[in-house]
């Protein structure tokens, strides 16, 4: 049996590879949304907007959370389970915080009269930011599962794959947010 396993084991774990292809797929969705945004931006009837302050704070939170998940992977590699639990927990908290701050940002926009139904620029803003938040929520759920497994002692010390998968996805949603933030700042 081992020979079969060895024969079929290649450089990259199949689940990691699947995740990378999946990330490509998600990127295409945001490419679709942002290019539709650019097309509309160049047509008449486009009202500019200012990004809410909360989006800056949330950017800080998600960047910080990326550092935490990196440290989580590092501590599991060293076998430091207490630190591992701590870093996964911090990533989780910062992830939840990010979503809450996005929500606060939406509230700030509403207060300025910028709502989903209104100018098409505003609709795009809500849909793009909202969809990114949904993807972060997916990551939060994955982290939660990981964290619960650690708490009830079901985490496999020798298996780095789950946390590496979570980390890759988490860095992706982080970078995606930075891209969207720059995109929205430059093209309004």
């Amino acid at each position: 049996m081992n020979t079969v396993v060895m024969e079929q084991r290649k450089k990259l774990h199949p689940h990691k590879f699947t995740l990378w292809v999946g990330i490509g797929s998600i990127l295409m969705m945001f490419a679709g949304l942002t290019s539709a945004y650019i097309v509309k931006r160049n047509q008449a009837n486009w009202l500019s907007f200012e990004l809410p302050h909360w989006f800056w704070y949330s950017t800080g939170a998600i960047v910080l959370s990326s550092v935490c998940i990196m440290l989580a992977v590092r501590s599991l590699k060293k076998g430091e389970m207490a630190a591992y639990r701590g870093w996964v927990g911090s990533t989780l908290v910062l992830g939840v915080l990010f979503i809450v701050m996005q929500w606060m940002g939406f509230r700030e926009l509403w207060a300025q009269g910028i709502t989903l139904v209104g100018n098409v620029a505003y609709s795009f803003l809500f849909v793009i930011v909202g969809f990114h938040a949904l993807h972060v929520l997916g990551g939060v759920i994955a982290l939660l599962v990981l964290y619960i497994k650690i708490l009830i002692g079901k985490a496999d010390r020798s298996n780095l794959v789950p946390v590496q998968l979570a980390a890759t996805y988490w860095h992706f949603v982080d970078l995606l947010w930075i891209y969207l933030m720059i995109f929205l700042l430059m093209i309004r």
Partner: protein, 598 residues
């Protein structure tokens, strides 16, 4: 690492201890994680959809062929859709829309790729299962969920979606626009969202499996062309479906939350709508960015399977293996760069249009390379006319006939006249619909023995083939003339126009042939289900004398595919008629005195 070990180990375990392994009916036939069972689930669901979608076309052809007649049995069957035995215009549109949706997505995407990617990828590359059997199972169940939702939309009071399979706004975005724009349209969008999830989960798995799970010796250049085709199909799917998803989501927002992504300056029944600033053309861009690759998502698997079947049954190596792979790669790239040729008449900048003309016509180059290679593979071959082979040859015929008219439509100047006429209907039905169906039939006839351990009945298969190929040409060839004469598609009744009255007899003829062809498909369906239980048993592991790895498994392989170790691969898949041997399977080591690959 450990999950690979578990997965591969599980396969070995299953195969070795099949007698001790307790598989319930539910885990074996319903929530199965065995790629071969999932493939059969996709195939059978696809066949059920094909019957429904095909039957819809018979009903609306009845209206087109006999616009003056009434058929009381129609009212018994369809209720208020056919009041007084005459199909109502709203439901005519609903049937046309559902016919397109069902055939394009549920049959020729899920039914075709879902079946053969699942079935053939692990078997032909030498893997025990997919990279993630769990995701694979989910892929089928998302498809099943999408099917249930789409099917239920047939039974709502106002009918299913009826704005055409392309669901252009504003018709699709405004509930008040038509009866088919109401709840039926919402169900369409939700069903398609589920469908896209299914197809993404499937695609991720296919790509990962092909790149990561090949057996020892199975380098990329030794892959059978089927696998290359399924690989490119999956890549197209994971890159283009998300864009359609974003379009569908924006459309859902427009419909239900009052946004104006695709709506502007609209008046319905004298009432001005508040929507401003949107653009319906934007939806067309998002739709066709998927929509065009979708054509190749449908066509590439048929190309791959036909290549394989042609070489096997011509008893000759495929001509120009690398050229075949290269041209599929070129087609996959170009598929993303030609979407606006569906939009020449939308007011697209003519300068931009000329780029799309050029890129569209460029597709003729890889297509011609493929056709040339298929014909040269057949040239002086020792051809066995099995049913699978006949359908593969039929595929090539359809691809040529339908492909040539693509050159007309790809010219923006000609397209101004031909757009939205029956010329387009003829073109895409032949090149994408019938051709892919032929590829699919070729695949079913060829791999049925591996799927079910029995053969299909040959007599019924030959009747099925001849009626289908002659019938398909009789149906779609005359439509070119109707289209050139300017007859628009999607109309309910042509007898009101003086200029199209002359086509009354022709339309009747087309409708009659369509019914005969539909009956021939029912014969196939009968043959299929009959042969699963009563067909002639397969007695040898390799009934076609084929080189690929699936024929090295037992006649009815268990979960895990090979009872012992996975065979090692020493050569490409097309060593036919070599060194005096009829065929040399991929797992036979290269002999010292063997000539090099020609």
């Amino acid at each position: 690492m450990s999950s690979v070990a578990t997965l591969q180990g599980a396969g070995v375990h299953d195969a070795h201890h099949e007698h001790h392994h307790h598989e319930t009916f539910i885990t074996k036939y319903v929530f199965s994680q065995d790629h071969k069972m999932i493939a059969r689930q996709f195939l059978i669901t696809g066949i059920i959809w094909a019957i429904i979608g095909g039957f819809f076309s018979v009903i609306f052809r009845l209206q087109l062929g006999y616009p003056e007649s009434t058929f009381p049995w129609l009212e018994d069957l369809l209720g208020h859709w056919a009041k007084g035995g005459k199909l109502q215009p709203e439901f005519y549109y609903a049937l046309v829309t559902m016919h397109g949706t069902i055939l394009v997505f549920f049959v020729l995407t899920a039914g075709l790729s879902g079946t053969f990617a699942n079935f053939l990828i692990p078997l032909q590359i030498g893997a025990r299962d997919m990279a993630s059997p769990m995701l694979n199972m989910l892929s089928y169940w998302f498809f099943f969920l999408a099917s249930i939702i789409m099917f239920s939309s047939l039974f709502v009071q106002t009918g299913p979606a009826s704005g055409g399979w392309t669901v252009y706004p504003p018709l699709s975005a405004l509930g008040d626009a038509s009866s088919g724009s109401k709840i039926g349209m919402d169900l369409w969008l939700v069903s398609m969202a589920m469908f896209i999830v299914s197809s993404l989960l499937g695609g991720l798995n296919y790509i990962t499996t092909i790149l990561n799970m090949r057996t020892k010796g199975m380098s990329m250049t030794r892959l059978p062309l089927t696998i290359w085709a399924l690989f490119f199909t999956a890549v197209l799917g994971v890159l283009s479906f998300p864009v359609l998803l974003s379009g569908a989501i924006l459309l859902l927002f427009d419909r239900n939350l009052g946004t104006s992504f695709f709506l502007s300056d609209i008046v319905i029944a004298g009432k001005i709508l508040p929507n401003e600033g949107g653009s319906p053309i934007l939806f067309q861009h998002l739709f066709w960015f998927l929509g065009h690759p979708e054509v190749y998502i449908i066509l590439l698997p048929a190309m791959g399977m036909s290549s394989e079947i042609l070489a096997t049954n011509a008893r000759k190596p495929i001509f120009g293996y690398m050229a075949m792979v290269g041209s599929m790669f070129a087609i996959a790239i170009l598929a993303f760069l030609v979407w606006a040729h569906h939009m020449f008449v939308t007011g697209l900048n003519p300068f931009l249009g000329s780029f799309f003309v050029l890129l569209t016509l460029l597709i003729a180059v890889p297509s011609a390379i493929k056709v040339f290679n298929w014909l040269t593979t057949l040239w002086r071959g020792n051809i066995r006319f099995t049913p699978g082979m006949l359908f593969a040859i039929g595929f090539v015929s359809m691809f040529i006939s339908g492909g040539l008219t693509g050159i007309f439509l790809g010219n923006s100047a000609l397209d101004l006249h031909l757009h939205d006429t029956y010329f387009v209907v003829a073109h895409f039905h032949i090149v994408m619909g019938v051709a892919s169906f032929f590829g699919m039939f070729a695949g079913v006839y060829h791999w049925f023995p591996k799927m079910f351990g029995r053969h299909l009945n040959n007599t019924m298969a030959y009747i099925h083939f001849w009626i289908s190929i002659v019938g398909a040409y009789l149906i779609f060839w005359p439509m070119h003339y109707e289209g050139l004469a300017g007859m628009p598609r999607r109309y309910y009744d042509y007898s009101n126009w003086e200029s199209f009255k002359m086509f009354g007899g022709l339309n009747q003829f087309i409708s009659l042939v369509a019914m005969v062809v539909f009956a021939a498909q029912l014969l196939f369906v009968f043959n299929f289900f009959y042969s699963i239980f009563k067909g002639r048993r397969v007695t040898s592991t390799n009934p076609w004398g084929s080189n690929t790895l699936e024929w090295t498994t037992p006649i009815k392989p268990g979960h895990g595919n090979w009872p012992g170790e996975i065979p090692e691969v020493y050569r490409g898949a097309y060593d036919y008629a070599k060194d005096g041997k009829e065929f040399i399977p991929q797992n036979v080591p290269v002999g010292d005195d063997e000539t090099t690959h020609g």
